[in-house]
Symmetry: C2
Subunit: 370 residues, 2 copies
């Protein structure tokens, strides 16, 4: 194998496949990436058995071949070479000779025989949307997946397609996040659970541009994202997702309209007084024209008022401040509507069209009164 690529192109592709390289694995071959050169095409592959990524690299092919090489070392070398053409050449003993200007590296590679192939999947069922939209809906929901591996389903997100509606749901037992967007076309009904780790990694690779599209293919066991010269395949999480419809309600006793940034900054300040371990709630006292937030802790106390527009009853309710902040941070609107029922019922932060719904369970506010 012998190829010549620009440093910029090669580094860009290496950074993409690195997302599927495990930091440490019991199978050393998984810590490698595979460079495969065939029919004038240079392809990089990495695969941690749950997530597999393939991407093409622009470059000049002088001889075909294939090699597996430690991904971290390879990426470090490419990153530190000069901004110029890089020549990669391998010999029969799987030695990789990497050179750029006057620098010459010799690194021992491996045969790719043991490297797990990324499975070929049926491409019957697919949808298309912009990379911007996909990146946004991941960002706006992925924070409320659970990291508790004992409940696998909560570590993933529901992807549900009904007609032209694409709905993404995540939940962790204390809150639910829902985002809905309209697709350009209508599709058959799809309902799958995608690992949160896959979504976190893919959102790092997506360009975030409205004009760049991404195709998503679905099978019973896998999801494939295809965009630019990259293909990302992930296993799905098996099982039935939670029925969340029965937890959603459009009934409310109190509706509060509040400036998002003021509310967020105020909660952020209040949490200064709370140590991680204390789990102190923030108490919200909804009055006629303002809400009063207060928090008491061993360090001290804090009080702040924020002007609001209110419909319905006054209410005193308490929340885990982090859950409120997580939701408020991902909402793009300047003003948000908060719907409350009673101090023991969940609150809903949502827009009128319900393109986003954040359900957050309250906590016992007596816990916060010293």
């Amino acid at each position: 194998m012998k190829i010549i690529c620009s440093k910029a192109d090669l580094l860009n592709s290496v950074n993409i496949v690195m997302k599927a390289v495990p930091a440490k694995s019991t199978m050393p071959i998984l810590e490698c990436l595979v460079i495969e050169v065939k029919n004038g095409i240079i392809k990089l592959t990495a695969n941690d058995m749950e997530l597999g990524i393939e991407t093409l690299v622009k470059g000049e092919v002088i001889a075909d071949g294939v090699i597996a090489i430690n991904a971290k070392i390879f990426a470090d070398i490419i990153r530190k070479l000069s901004d110029n053409d890089i020549i990669i050449e391998t010999d029969d003993n799987f030695m990789a000779h990497i050179s750029c200007e006057k620098a010459k590296f010799d690194i021992a590679g491996k045969s790719n025989d043991e490297f797990p192939l990324i499975p070929k999947i049926e491409r019957d069922c697919s949808i298309e949307l912009s990379q911007f939209s996909l990146k946004e809906i991941i960002r706006q929901t992925v924070f409320s997946i659970s990291d508790n591996e004992s409940n696998k389903i909560m570590t993933g997100e529901l992807f549900e397609i009904t007609g032209n509606e694409f709905k993404v749901v995540s939940l962790d037992g204390h809150r639910i996040s829902i985002r809905k967007i309209s697709l350009k076309e209508s599709y058959d009904h799809i309902k799958i659970i995608v690992p949160g780790k896959t979504l976190n990694e893919i959102s790092k690779i997506l360009s975030g541009e409205i004009e760049d599209m991404v195709k998503i293919f679905f099978t019973n066991k896998h999801i494939v994202f295809e965009f630019n010269d990259t293909m990302v395949l992930s296993r799905l999480i098996e099982g039935e997702y939670y029925r969340i419809e029965q937890m959603l309600s459009s009934d409310y006793e109190t509706k509060v309209t509040i400036n998002k940034k003021e509310f967020l900054n105020c909660i952020d300040r209040a949490t200064l007084l709370v140590k991680e371990s204390e789990k102190k709630p923030i108490i919200i006292n909804v009055g006629e024209q303002n809400i009063e937030l207060c928090i008491n802790s061993t360090i001290g106390s804090m009080k702040e008022e924020i002007d609001i527009t209110k419909e319905g009853k006054d209410i005193l309710i308490a929340f885990n401040p982090r859950f409120l902040m997580d939701a408020l941070r991902v909402i793009d609107e300047e003003e948000v509507d908060i719907y409350l029922f009673n101090p023991k019922a969940p609150c809903f932060i949502k827009d009128k069209e319900e393109t986003y719904i954040y359900l957050i369970l309250p906590v016992n506010f007596n816990a916060g009164v010293n």
Copy 2:
């Protein structure tokens, strides 16, 4: 006590004194900063017993008073308040009421009775230089102090003033760094050892501007830096500094002139192949018109040539790559001169006027040959 300060002024002053607040102390009072208001002046003080900092804050004084308050909590609160006027008011029970716009914090403070006073020192003996120069000479030497507390003297830097020459020296047993600058005036001879920690902290506070001056006062036990509205006092390290003159030599067998950036980048690339624990040296083969660097490790090997100008003999010599990089990184010149004697004698990287001298001991190069 009651004062009104802008958030920006207060935060700036808090950030300065924070440099003398220990992260954790067996004396909780040291984790506080003291706010003292007297004669229309607002002063913040912190003191970890080795380093003490006082700085003035611009602001409106409504009532005099003094309070000690947990520095980290106070800094966090000020940082998160809105960009507006902040009112700080204390009562007889040492409660601090901090308010800004509609946010109100109540934090329990303490009397400053137990807070250690920063000692008043004699101000007979002083020098003056620009904050830029002081910041630069610290940066260019402080990396080669030792962090081994068992040899206290090596954890500090020698400050020596002879006439109008100000010399700073640091060493750790493997290398010596020397920087000399000319002062505008001549002074009596001074020779003291300043703790490296003090220098690291002070260089974070110095503005780095050529027009801003700093006054340095010396006593037998203390050094005081005075600049802007800030006073930093540090204990000195007691003892006699090493006699380094006998280690310096202007004899050489080989003189190499090399592009600093090329040399640095090349070593940086080579060290990719070396794990922290391996301590592999980099081998430098000085030839007629170029040097060849090579490194061998369990991961692979690397070779690179760099064009040079040479006087004297060819030489094969090996170094700890980190020591070379540390010195090269702080040199501002595009080209550097390296003076070599034999493979067992130290190399000197220095300019003609010897405003900087970096002495680095070589290592046994057989260690690097696999």
